[in-house]
């Protein structure tokens, strides 16, 4: 069995307290400092949850990010924040980036918007989410003379500078979001330019653990293209991908399986996920399996998201043949920080209110972070890290 890692491979929803606070902020009823303090507090809660569940990296859930592109379209010369646009097949919207001129890197602008201090307080490697070049080209309103291939390469050049900068800040894992690759996949004729737009990123990505994540669409037909891109691991959303059709993963490539469906509040069945993972592993022999949410988890409320993440340690226990509840030590004994208290999950379990997660936790072995390339390995995360 390949090594199995767990991670929050998406944004996390805002808590009801944050919903209320940010509404108040918009209405002038609360000050920015007070709301920022709450963002900091809730980000720390997400980081603690990630550590508790034995994830291999921490992200903090990107609570403050308004959408995938915003940190860049707010601060990147050449870009402007555009109109509200539907975020794929959801009832959520993003501000379409408008490209007026070839985008220029704004040194440090993105890093300043990240909760890096909090992420680095843990002993787990921070992972940061970036908008991939194909998705950027696909969703931005390009008002320049640049061809899609030229704009994609330009975006990759900018991302490469960003990755260098993030690495200098201690970020050791980078996740490239590429939903458009599966929702509006390139034709066979276009695959060459897709590979081409990733060329400027290859060197930078070799310095960190790199993950390319797809969601909202079927990843199976395009897996060979995904695997040809210069990343360590490629991820697909099992809510839209038939795992039986995943084939052709090159040796040495990791495979991410988005096994938590953010479009339903039903709790996933760990047994079913474990069965799929075993089958996929036997067929593809990936260098690593990363389990996480498929589509952004912020499509469900905080409590549901928390309980869904609690399924992941159960899956890993099953894969490793460890009886539920027998591995846990210290703080990791309870996967769901809110109200879970043991019990098995079934497909009909409801994740919103009373559904409970069985014990799953961060034992010392499985919470050991992967060492980032070119970096010394950090101390392994103990169960008590918070």
């Amino acid at each position: 069995m390949s090594s199995v890692n767990l991670g929050l491979t998406s944004s996390f929803p805002r808590s009801e307290a944050l919903v209320s606070a940010t509404r108040d902020l918009d209405r002038g009823r609360r000050g920015a400092e007070e709301v920022q303090a709450l963002f900091d507090q809730e980000t720390s809660r997400v980081i603690a949850l990630e550590a508790k569940l034995g994830f291999s990296t921490v992200s903090g859930g990107d609570l403050q990010r308004q959408d995938l592109f915003r940190p860049f379209s707010d601060s990147t010369p050449g870009l402007e924040v555009g109109p509200l646009t539907r975020w794929f097949e959801t009832n959520t919207f993003f501000r379409q980036p408008i490209v007026h001129a070839p985008p220029q890197w704004a040194p440090g602008a993105f890093a300043r918007q990240l909760p890096l201090e909090r992420l680095l307080e843990t002993r787990l490697p921070p992972r940061v989410i970036l908008p991939g070049p194909y998705t950027f080209v696909n969703l931005a309103d390009n008002r320049t003379d640049l061809t899609p291939a030229e704009l994609g390469r330009r975006w990759s050049e900018l991302l490469a500078l960003e990755v260098h900068d993030l690495a200098a800040h201690g970020v050791r894992a980078v996740q490239i979001q590429e939903p458009s690759l599966v929702v509006r996949p390139p034709s066979v004729d276009e695959e060459a330019w897709v590979r081409g737009i990733y060329d400027p990123l290859a060197s930078a990505l070799s310095e960190v653990d790199s993950l390319l994540w797809t969601f909202f669409g079927d990843g199976a037909p395009i897996l060979p293209l995904l695997a040809s891109l210069p990343v360590d691991t490629v991820g697909v959303d099992l809510a839209d991908t038939d795992p039986a059709l995943l084939t052709d993963l090159p040796t040495g490539k990791g495979l991410g399986l988005g096994c938590l469906d953010s479009r339903t509040t039903l709790l996933e069945d760990p047994q079913e996920i474990a069965r799929i993972v075993r089958e996929v592993n036997a067929r593809l022999q990936p260098s690593e399996i990363l389990l996480g949410p498929g589509a952004p988890l912020e499509l469900v409320p905080w409590g549901v998201a928390e309980r869904k993440l609690g399924v992941l340690p159960q899956v890993r226990d099953l894969l490793e043949g460890i009886p539920a509840g027998s591995r846990s030590t210290g703080e990791g004994a309870q996967a769901s920080a809110g109200d879970g208290s043991g019990g098995s999950s079934t497909p009909s379990n409801r994740a919103r209110g009373s559904a409970r997660t069985s014990a799953g936790s961060s034992s010392s072995d499985r919470s050991r972070p992967r060492s980032a390339k070119g970096k010394s390995s950090r101390p392994k995360a103990k169960g008590g890290s918070r």
């Binding site: 805002r14 509404r23 009832n91 469906d261 339903t264 799929i276 497909p347």
Partner: protein, 378 residues
Amino acid sequence: MSSPRLFPTQEVGSIAKPRWLLQGLKGQAPTPEALQELKRWRERTSFVPEHDPRLKKLEKGEIEEVGAHGLRDLGALFGLRYLETAGLDLVYDGEARRVEMYEFPIRQMTGFELSGHVRSFDNKYYLKGASVGPVGLVAPYHLDEYEFLRKEARRQLKVPVTGAYTLADWSWNEYYLGKQKGWKGRKARRAAQRELLVDIARHAIRPTLKALIDRGASVLQIDEPAAGTHPDEAELVVEAFNESTEGLDAKFVMHICFSDYRCLFPALLEAKRCRQFLWEFANRDTPEKDGYRDLELFMEFQDDREIGLGVTDIHRDVLESPELIRDRILRASKILGDPSRIYVNPDCGLRTRSLDVAWEKLTRMVRGADLARAAIGK
């Protein structure tokens, strides 16, 4: 029900609630600004007579004396007169009594639980429900508001009702999806979604529409803003509409907005009891791009139903000139080849605009329709 003149104007749904209403519903006496707003709009719309005892109490801040019921009646009267005074031919009350278009109907049904807030964009959220059991109806809804308006209206009423497809799409589907065996992939989700929307249509929307029609409603607008969310679900949109209106006799309008309309064709043509498609167009109409080109779909598929033509952008405060609105109407007339098919309306509900901006947009829209009539010579 054809209108006697060309280019009848109509509202689409919600307008912003006035401050005195929002404050009053929270049990708060109106602030000086709210009272000023009340005075200004009362003078402009005459929505309530000066001697009305509720008005006197409201002005004195005696909110408990006015009561929630009295406040809501005043709010509905305000919405109705606001739209009538702006000059619209088809009106309602600006959805003055409704929380919003999803939560209100869901609260009238059984089989749902409101589960938590989900971000729509930026710092905007909506309360989302989950289907946790078979869909049922506590009682047909919107009846009180309709009966109140029927007595008060001086223009034709058009009743907006949130459609079954949208209610299903904006809900989590636990009950029906939970019945699906095995991995909950796209196919299972689709099958469960179909079950959910058909049950909403049959057991909640249809009885509500029937009750409204029994009370005299003759024009009903089924709101399906989610219709274009999933490009491959056009058949489900139509199935929801047909199930909702099965066996009913009224003029049904289907409102869709901010969608890729092309993906709905040709399935949409099977919405047999739909007499008018009321769509957003102005938002997509720019100097660089003709936002009305999608009207060509009706020619391409040889469909001659009425069109509710969105001529006013509801997302921006920029005020369209009457001349621009006239030109949009004439452009649409040219594409459709028959001006008598066109009704004129905003892209969608105007509730995200201030009352002042919405007023300007609506009155300019009415003037634009006048100019278009004059240009055509009718």
